[in-house]
């Protein structure tokens, strides 16, 4: 593996990956609580749920997540980008504790600690697997002679 150092802009894109996904999931969860029970025999009700405000906001946030996620995958490994998505859960936990003053159990703090250590582990390593350069097909001497 070659050590690929990320630029501040690339770290900002990973930050967007972290924040947009959990906020989007939270909006989806809030939206689905307000939707009547969905049955497989009436799949159209699942499509109708997409147009409710919370689910629409969740989808907008998840589109932001997907755009930044695709950008990150174009210059980093999947196993490097994935922990960043989990790091967002920790940001939401911090916001709920310090901005919303909600109670956070010891188990949740332990979860935050484990995610932080895990992300730190990956972030210190290379972001991209080094691949051998593709072999260039040069015509052999015999082929050159035939020409």
């Amino acid at each position: 593996m070659a050590h690929q150092k990320l630029s501040p802009r690339q770290y900002a894109i990973l930050g967007l990956v972290s924040v947009c996904a959990p906020l989007g999931d939270t909006c989806l969860s809030q939206g689905m609580k307000q939707v009547a029970s969905v049955s497989l025999s009436h799949p159209a009700s699942l499509i109708a749920a997409v147009f409710t405000p919370w689910i629409a906001l969740g989808i907008a946030l998840l589109i932001g997540f997907f755009a930044s996620y695709l950008t990150a995958l174009s210059w980093a490994d999947l196993t490097y980008v994935l922990p960043a998505t989990a790091f967002g859960n920790m940001i939401v936990e911090m916001l709920s504790r310090f901005a919303l003053h909600e109670a956070v159990s010891m188990q949740r703090w332990l979860g935050c600690l484990l995610i932080t250590i895990g992300v730190g582990f990956v972030a210190q390593g290379p972001s991209l697997t080094e691949r051998p350069a593709p072999a260039i097909n040069t015509p052999s001497a015999e082929e050159e002679h035939v020409r």
Partner: protein, 133 residues
Amino acid sequence: MIAPASSVGFWPAAGMISAIILASSVGEILTAAAMKSVGDLDEIRAHSGLAGAIRAVLTCPLFFGGVSFLALAFFSLLYALNHLPLGLVAPASASLTLVTNAVGAKIFLKENVDRRRWVAAVLVCVGVYFLAH
């Protein structure tokens, strides 16, 4: 009326969560393969502008395969959230997907998943479980 979580048995719940994990993992691995074949989007945008970067992504067939499976995972998640509590669906699907993605990246994307990344995947997996359970 919202279906109570207790009305769903073990096997249907396991089936819903497995569907999310499977669709999500296949989608993410196909998407990652697509983006690797497209190349660095920042460089493409610098040369061809935003339209060029969007065109590069949209002309990659693997990308549509990935998006199809991610859409399937999304609707599976919506369906599961409608029948199961978030406290079960979120930790189980999020944490197990991390591990299946690491295995898939190693096998299909040939990523160098060294000991550092395995340890990180397991730590994040357990951390997500604690956080969302």
